[in-house]
């Protein structure tokens, strides 16, 4: 989900190893998409933008636990991938609004269904975890 970095020793994914790029197009699509929105905050940002455009600090308040730095980084990344738009209104102080692109809206649909699952099943997961942890 970050800007291009140059690997020094460790290469994250096998298929990005020099000479093993598999022609640069045949990577698993899910892997590729998760590499961009599968981080800690992207999904939450998208969910919070689904209803209407939101300003930077409002977004920051809405997403519990996110730091200013990570919100900025996450928004830039989503903007780069064509999922989020950034609109500056040159007032003083400036207002910056973030919203979803059409692509972003389309991604918000499966994400919302994941959110629905989360809301319905988190208790099941908690109970399973407790049971497992008791088992040893």
């Amino acid at each position: 989900m970050n800007a291009p970095t140059k690997p020094t020793t460790a290469v994250p994914l096998l298929h990005t190893t020099p000479g093993f790029e598999t022609d640069g197009r045949s990577t698993c699509p899910i892997r590729e998409v998760l590499d961009r929105v599968g981080d800690t905050w992207s999904i939450l940002v998208i969910i919070n933008l689904q209803e209407q455009p939101v300003r930077f600090n409002a977004l920051k308040r809405a997403i519990e636990g996110i730091s200013q730095r990570m919100l900025t980084v996450t928004l830039r990344s989503l903007e780069r991938d064509g999922l989020v738009t950034r609109t500056v209104r040159p007032t003083t102080p400036p207002e910056v609004e973030y919203g979803l692109t059409e692509l972003g809206q389309s991604l918000a649909v499966p994400i919302a269904s994941l959110g629905g699952w989360a809301a319905s099943n988190r208790d099941n997961m908690r109970q399973a975890r407790e049971a497992f942890d008791l088992g040893t």
Copy 2:
């Protein structure tokens, strides 16, 4: 997605800060679920188990780029959360099969729809990225 660790200085999430636990139950469900399944490999493992149970090394071969260590860690985590079952057949050499629980199957549904989005839209994301990177 990891076993319980004791934070030393930095606390990952605000709402886990001592005195700010929000009673230990009111955390955003999506955040909570993503903390367990939102890592690099869990989603891919679940997708690969959706059809039928798969043995350890078969799974390793199926998931491009995963290391043995991360496959083990990921499977343990999913098992702990009640999403995956582990079945040992005491032959020599031993055969260990992993499969989805009912809970895991139910999670596989929204995950599959995310996968469908990924397959349909990765080219859009690539193009958006190229355009953005040209823009500066």
